[in-house]
Amino acid sequence: MSGQGKNDNIKGDHEERFLKAFEEYSDALFRHAFLRVSDRERAIDIVHDTFTKVWTYVRNGHEVDQFRPFLYKVLNNLIIDEYRKRKEASLDAIMEVDGIDEGTFDELSENTVESLAATLDGKKAFELLQELPDTYREIIVLRFVDELGPKEIASLTEETENVISVRLHRGLKLLRKAVEEKEKETQKKRTTKK
């Protein structure tokens, strides 16, 4: 079987669909992974693993209707695995922070998220994304980079929509804080220079 030509494999319907999904989503998946793990090589590996896992899933006779959410799900699991491998302690800490409260009414409203986001400078916020804990970073990346809806994010992360809203809200608040601090620092640097 392995002796078969490359083209024979790619010709088939399943193979075609699978490779098409690769062409379509590899960039977005890589971007997501990179923003989460901050390591180019690792990110590529994770994307690769994501696709091989999905391929194995297809090989086992499962039909995949929509590749995109499925790919994100696998990717997300792999990233979590990656975190587990790297820093188990911090993950626990994050888990602790999470789920303590369901959040205030403020935090649950999508409108407040919007008004909060409106006060932020997108460029600066993006640069400071790496300083956020992964729980918030994940949601922000899924929301603003991968442009998934709250529902999709909820099903992907296996959390309730409320939790997602709260995390998004808090994440943005943290980001704003980080941006403000950064500005203060630069101002300080300027004044000390003077």
Partner: protein
């Protein structure tokens, strides 16, 4: 929010796989897929029917061939262009009975007809269509494929085109009688050419068919020829009835002359040297005719202006004066032989009629020449001489007259010799007297330089002399049998030769008229 998310997204888009990374990743993935291929039962449900088709099962009634839309559109475009351009182009070559023949006659030609704006152009086009029909019929006939049915159809088409042309001419006449007359002349001469061509064709066929008494089924164009000649005669009559004005006629001739010379230029490289010479001669003839008419016209006009102003008005009032002219020309024709000095006021319209007649023949000759030059099939069957006989110049005519004169004189001498030798018949003496009279007239004509008169008298003189000579010789033979017998024999031989010569001469002079 929008601004934030936009900026955020934009910034994030700077993170992407490099082309090499991407290709590398893909390769890794593909090789992974190769080493971990799908199990047999999952193998590409879509590929399976494809394989079946390529295996070519005998029972497969249909085969799905996917054609790209762009190909279909492209093909449709090409096909449309072919319909519009290609088919009429191919149809041009068709003959009656072909599939595409109706396309030629009913679409291409009708479209071209509708593109002709002026009625004059329409007449020309109808003429051309008629010529095409005749040419097609001849082509079929030469291949032996002309059935009686097709011939009838072609004849009908010829009639249709003629009536169409005549309708157009009638339309022209409503606005411009002169123009209509010119159109009629042109049309008549074109028809005449076609008639000649068909007769030439029949003659050719007859020559070939004399040895073998095969039936002329499929080759005869007799029925068509009779139709065409009938139509041609009608047109000729109509043409004679219409009288264009001098100026218009001259204008028409000028236009045709330019066209004829252009054609001549282009034909020169193709035609044989004799043909070129022949055509050149005919063109020169036409020009001479026109020139003579113009010089004739100018002098009396000036005289008229100087002499009498009302006369000019009479001359220029067009049709009414011309109507008078037809009657006066008859009068003049009767008067001329008696050499009575014709009254000046009578002579002018008569001369005008003559001039118009000359111009008319000139225009006809031109038209025939143009037909001759433009249509190859015409050139193949008819010679120029048959269409447009040579018009002799005055000098040529004079020399011809002198030749006849000399010929007749030799006869006269013989007759005189005979009469002196023996008694002659009363008839001979009478003829002799008449001969002398004619000779006197002839001399006078030659002296006066009246070529036409001279020609007439010369012909008369020669004919008389011949008659008298034969009569005298036979009489002489009866009279003295033995002694002169041998002598006579030699002379008769000479006479026969002379007769043959003179016979040719008289023919040519007749044609000139």
């Amino acid at each position: 929010m929008k601004r934030f998310s936009e900026q955020f997204k934009k910034k994030s888009e700077s993170i992407r796989l490099r082309a090499t990374e991407r290709a590398d990743l893909r390769d890794r993935l593909v090789s992974y897929m190769e080493y971990h291929p799908l199990p047999q039962n999952l193998r590409t449900p879509k590929a399976t029917p494809k394989k079946r088709v390529s295996a070519g099962l005998a029972s497969e009634p249909f085969r799905a061939i996917s054609i790209h839309m762009a190909y279909i559109r492209g093909f449709a475009g090409v096909f449309a262009i072919f319909l519009v351009v290609g088919i009429p182009f191919i149809a041009e070559q068709s003959v009656p009975g072909d599939v595409l023949y109706p396309v030629k006659t009913h679409i291409t030609e009708e479209v071209r007809a509708s593109l002709k704006l002026s009625p004059y152009a329409k007449v020309e086009w109808e003429t051309q269509r008629l010529e095409r029909r005749v040419a097609e019929a001849r082509l079929l006939a030469s291949e032996g494929k002309l059935t009686a049915e097709t011939e009838a159809k072609v004849a009908q088409a010829v009639k249709n085109h003629t009536s169409a042309a005549q309708q157009e001419i009638a339309q022209i006449r409503e606005n411009d009688a002169d123009e209509a007359a010119i159109a009629e002349i042109t049309f008549a001469s074109a028809l005449e050419v076609q008639s000649e061509v068909l007769e030439g064709h029949i003659a050719k066929i007859a020559m070939i068919a004399t040895d073998e008494t095969e039936s002329q089924e499929g080759t005869s164009v007799r029925a068509l020829a009779s139709v065409v000649s009938e139509v041609a005669e009608d047109a000729e009559d109509a043409q004679e009835a219409a009288t264009p004005s001098y100026e218009k006629l001259l204008g028409g001739i000028e236009a045709k002359t330019t066209y004829a010379y252009e054609l001549f230029e282009s034909v020169q490289s193709v035609a044989s040297p004799t043909e070129v010479a022949d055509i050149e001669r005919r063109l020169a003839d036409v020009e001479r005719k026109v020139a003579s008419v113009i010089t004739d016209n100018e002098t009396p006009m000036i005289e008229a202006v100087v002499a009498d102003i009302p006369e000019v008005i009479v001359e220029e009032t067009g049709t009414s004066s011309e109507e008078i002219a037809t009657s006066t020309s008859e009068v003049v024709a009767e008067e001329v032989p008696e050499e009575t000095p014709v009254v000046v006021s009578f002579e002018k319209p008569a001369e005008k009629i003559d001039r118009i007649a000359t111009l008319r023949t000139a225009l006809k000759d031109l038209q025939k020449l143009i037909s001759f030059m433009t249509q190859i099939d015409v050139r193949e069957t008819v010679t120029v001489e048959e269409l447009v006989p040579v018009t002799l110049t005055d000098e040529e005519r004079t020399t011809a007259v002198q030749k006849q004169y000399a010929q007749a004189n030799t006869y006269l001498d013989t007759i005189v010799a005979i009469t002196t030798k023996s008694n002659v018949d009363e008839k001979v003496t009478f003829a002799l007297a008449q001969l002398k009279d004619t000779q006197r007239l002839l001399d006078a004509a030659i002296e006066a330089g009246a070529v036409t008169d001279a020609e007439k008298y010369a012909a008369e003189f020669l004919a008389l002399a011949e008659d008298a000579h034969t009569h005298a010789v036979t009489f002489q033979v009866d009279d003295s049998v033995e002694t002169v017998l041998e002598e006579v024999a030699t002379t008769t031989e000479e006479i026969i030769e002379e007769l043959e010569d003179s016979g040719l001469e008289t023919e040519s002079t007749e044609e000139i008229r």
